[in-house]
Subunit: 340 residues, 2 copies
């Protein structure tokens, strides 16, 4: 068979700030693949079904991607050819995180061993496996179970509560009987927070975080997705024996280490007997396991108790702009590219 | 009986910096007490045996002591009169922390209920009950047991390792099979660290903390007695899954909150999966209990496995200078006033 077009998003160079589509990242339509004959080396060849747009793509530009190779992310593909008996033609497969090329077709060779077949017996939309049942959902679930030490009746504050991680944390906390305060950066996101049951939802661009938290009696658990100045502010609002879970640094993803906000409130950890845990999901999984993530969260999704917002496009080239939107905080939901 | 002289150290005012003896603190010889007739209101009257000089006396100047009342600290007295059946004449008694007046005689009324009688069946020097078996030792023991999550073979770094808290932590860690790195601010303190079995002892004024820690393969546990810039530096030297126990802020005891060092390394908590716990002993005790502190540490002291340095004076007025020395870091051991 003649070569098939395999449009791909190529990483050119690590930008100083927000990547510029067409410069730092390039959508290349001239790339092709020979579907029938491409060597698999014991791996599999997949046709991409969906790709998730995650903030970590930006971080990985700094240390992982090589110039003029595809961006690697988190996605789902359907198997067209397999040299590994674990995978059958037609299986839906998810590569390990950040091993899925942003392309229409992909050969997974080294990555194959730890790829997983998505059974999806209950027929959830595939987008679920990139959000609530993907890395973001797993991050929220495992991090919460491992570090929040939540007790019924306590108050949790979740920053970037309308993001996938944040909204899963909000809903898990709600299900466990906590009072949930969450913030987001647009009124429509605040509306979504109310829809998923958040008790106190507010737009941090319109209301002062410290004031809202103090008016609501302080915070027992802070799920920190932003870092920086906000983390310092919230430390001033923590109740005694509070727990802080550092999960993300949305406010400082593009700030060099020497320019980051200097937190002057660490002494409060002593005065208030605080516990601060930072984690990246792979490390937390290695230490704690997954707390039955897939089965538990699948059930919650089926029961309608776990919702996230998704923005989709059917054009791979939109991935570049969608990434920029996430970095600027102007996306309205989890970005997903759906392939027809 | 005629009034007996009861020399006392009186708190005058909260200084900006290091308290000035004779101004912020005053040694008053003109105070007297009527030992036979002083009303006890259900409490006890004690003759002071020993008083400990603790850095927290300085902190309490800012929020606890009232002007023209005695400094309150941590001490031991022998009962001369008692209206509480829990205490017999001749008992050695320890008031709850920071309830013991810096005076030759004291009436403990409200404080009596939670005062404890020191049995001291094994005949340890009374100074032990102000150091290794006192609040400092308890802080080290309980904090270590509650938060270090130490595993055999790991490396701990203890700042101000030659202080009472630090040296107890060093020796507990050593007894549990850890590799111990500890620093102090004078060569004689470094010698003491070597005497108590510290594997890598260094003078932080002569050697760079970050360099020493990196040369020694990084740190799994950091026992932080100093806070500030040092804490930031050590965060850069932590190994994955490391634990930081924030126990003191020796570097910033006199710095207003807005002037404290801004820690730019909190993102490392995420990258390295760190756990940071701050605590004050009373809060930790309330949450975790005491891990058999008294019996376990008494045994270690008896076995010669737990040593601390002590500097004593038999003059109450020296307490002022000894406190200043601690605040300036020029003391050579735990300060104790012994009464004849």
């Amino acid at each position: 068979m003649s070569p098939t077009p395999n449009p791909t998003i190529i990483f050119v160079s690590n930008p100083q700030g927000v990547p510029v589509p067409g410069e730092d990242l390039v959508y290349r339509q001239d790339i092709t693949i020979d579907i029938d004959n491409e060597p698999l080396n014991g791996g599999i060849l997949t046709k991409t079904v969906a790709l998730g747009i995650d903030i970590w793509v930006r971080h990985r530009m700094g240390y992982e991607y090589k110039p003029n190779t595809p961006i690697l992310g988190y996605g789902i593909g359907v198997v067209l050819r397999s040299e590994n008996p674990k995978f059958q033609v037609g299986d839906h497969v998810q590569a390990p995180s950040y091993r899925e090329p942003f392309a229409h077709y992909a050969v997974l060779s080294e990555a194959t061993a730890s790829a997983r077949v998505l059974k999806n017996d209950v027929g959830l939309p595939w987008t679920a496996y990139l959000g609530v049942l993907g890395l973001a959902g797993e991050t929220a679930w495992v991090g919460y179970k491992a570090y929040a030490e939540a007790k019924n009746g306590e108050t949790i504050y979740v920053s970037t509560g309308a993001g996938t991680v944040g909204s899963v944390v909000c809903q898990v906390a709600k299900a466990e009987g906590l009072r949930v305060i969450a913030s987001a950066g647009s009124d429509s996101k605040v509306e979504f927070l109310k829809e998923i049951g958040v008790d106190v939802a507010f737009n941090y661009k319109k209301q002062d975080v410290g004031t809202v938290l103090k008016e609501n009696g302080g915070v027992d658990i802070y799920w920190d997705n932003v870092g920086g100045k906000a983390l310092e502010t919230v430390m001033g609002c923590m109740n005694k024996y509070g727990r802080i879970v550092i999960c993300g640094i949305a406010s400082e993803w593009n700030v060099p280490p020497t320019e980051r906000h200097g937190n002057k409130s660490l002494v409060l950890a002593l005065a208030k007997n605080l516990t601060i845990n930072g984690f990246i999901i792979t490390d937390a999984l290695a230490k704690f396991g997954d707390f039955n993530f897939e089965s538990e969260v699948t059930r919650l999704v089926e029961e309608g108790k776990m919702k996230v917002r998704t923005e989709t496009s059917d054009k791979l080239e939109d991935a570049m702009k969608m990434l920029v939107d996430i970095l600027l905080g102007v996306n309205e939901g989890k970005g997903v590219i759906m392939f027809s």
